[in-house]
Symmetry: C2
Subunit: 317 residues, 2 copies
């Protein structure tokens, strides 16, 4: 059985995401409401998948359909629905590359939302995650889901298990805002990985267990004081923070400006900080920017509500 569509064009966007949320290393991510990558997809009857163009990347991303995260996700998707039709993809990059804000994931998520709309939404959002992971495989070497999952599904997404894949959407506490700041320092993914310990003391793992449990309970009960106390990572962040000049000062600045807490976003160098209003989120951005300036680092920050939205389809025709 193969699936054909009557539509010719779809356009969708998908937002930046924060993975490795405090103690919840590799198992929890959430979607911001901005910035978002945008993807346009047009049907090709010759069955081929082509990267037609990319804007906003300064020529850094590949137009080879086997190498670009958006097209690789779409190739996986089309195979799953057994399509005889192909597509051409135009990607409009709005997210900074290599920032720890889920840039590759947002491109794949937007492409999948668009192609799923093009084919009449045969898959649920959760079902798209497996195809998004294939995009992450070419982008990062491992098919992780903690960015692409929330970028597609929205809100806080728990990756309970990979074998089998089991993703659980958690309710988003109301009134939660997030600042993400991207300082102009490169953290190479290989270095961020190499610095991870292979083994960890059981006692430290137990400390992490308590904080993960506290974090999940806080999200589900909208207990922001508990959220603040639980956002502590004793296993990974103490190592990775050494790769980010001014980390301690930026965290301190965020807290002084009213942040519930402040942690590394993904594998860095971006940091994220929760707060309870848009104005606090903006004040936190300004305070962290100043802290990084004292280290001689320029940075760019984004402040937005954590609103539970993920990828969205703007147009299908």
């Amino acid at each position: 059985m193969s699936m054909e569509t009557k539509f010719r064009y779809a356009r969708a966007s998908a937002p930046a995401t924060v993975a490795n949320v405090g103690p919840a290393f590799d198992v929890l991510g959430f979607a911001l409401s901005a910035p978002s990558d945008e993807v346009e997809i047009s049907l090709r009857d010759d069955g081929r998948v082509v990267m037609k163009g990319i804007t906003g990347d300064n020529g850094r991303l590949s137009l080879d359909a086997e190498k670009n995260t958006a097209s690789v996700a779409v190739l996986h998707y089309l195979k799953r629905i057994n399509s005889t039709q192909g597509v051409e993809i135009t990607l409009h990059k709005k997210l900074p590359l290599g920032s720890g804000m889920g840039s590759s994931a947002a491109s794949a998520a937007a492409a999948l939302a668009a192609v799923n709309a093009l084919f009449g939404e045969p898959f649920t959002r959760e079902e798209l995650v497996a195809s998004g992971m294939e995009g992450e495989r070419v982008a990062c070497g491992t098919p992780h889901a903690d960015n692409v999952g929330p970028s597609i599904v929205g809100g806080f997404l728990l990756i309970r298990s990979y074998k089998p894949l089991d993703v659980v959407k958690l309710p988003t506490p109301s009134g939660l805002y997030c600042t993400v700041i991207n300082p102009a320092v490169e953290v190479r993914t290989e270095e961020a990985r190499r610095i991870l310990p292979r083994e960890v003391p059981l006692a430290d793992a137990v400390t992490q267990f308590g904080n993960i449990a506290g974090l999940i309970a806080a999200l589900l009960t909208s207990d922001l004081a508990l959220l603040s106390r639980s956002l502590t990572d004793v296993l990974v962040e103490p190592r990775r923070s050494s790769l980010i000049p001014g980390f301690d000062e930026a965290v301190e600045a965020a807290k002084s400006a009213g942040a519930l807490n402040c942690n590394i976003s993904g594998s860095g160098p971006s940091l994220f900080a929760f707060s309870t209003s848009q104005s606090d989120a903006e004040a936190i951005g300004t305070a962290m920017e100043k802290a990084f300036q004292c280290e001689g680092l320029e940075s760019r920050w984004y402040a937005s509500a954590v609103d539970g939205m993920g990828a969205s389809v703007q147009e299908v025709r």
Copy 2:
């Protein structure tokens, strides 16, 4: 400032508990509704704390007030309220000793509920946990809170942190039942501890993170399918289960009889299994009892609702 009371006598009980709930090693425990230890406390104006008597222990527990878990907890409590009055304590043991069902914790919890009632409830239930931990220190060598906490407070209790102590009561899903079975095999606490790894692979810790997050989300959303999938411990149970003959067979029997899952209770040898009705909980007990019989082991099981109640005061005068 010292506190005096007009009451002369109080009687309270506190239930068995399950700690190390699936993946949530050392950070989560919950209260059963039965069996319960009972404690009677009478005021002594001479300021001394005395263990007057113990029933149901076959003479195995100490009457030395510095060594019994109930009196040690009470001594800590009286010091905190700066009391000039003392008490004498009678302990009625209903829980099996050394079973992994929180026997020492139930005695301390009942004693604390009684003495707190005697002095007019100056402390909340959560505030009593710190004194209960002192009882656990003499009973087990470490002042852990994951049995005594839920035995006092009731329901599911998260021990997010010890430094500082931070306990969080989680909502109990409605319609949840539990079978606990205590096979007649001794697991010495030292052996159960010695067998623990000092270090664990980060990859296994991450598997545990996902299951802990899933477990907490399941409890807070009453998602029993997620609860079932999340009750997997890849770090500790694979080692400790080797100390329990017939473990695999008993787990299989529990699942075949309708259990959501089945894990070691505390450090064993008891096992616990969740289900969704009293009749299922009883059928699971019978099935596990048969499985242990095939290994030549007698056992005793308890089936009850997980009802969110902890220690309760029966009388104060």
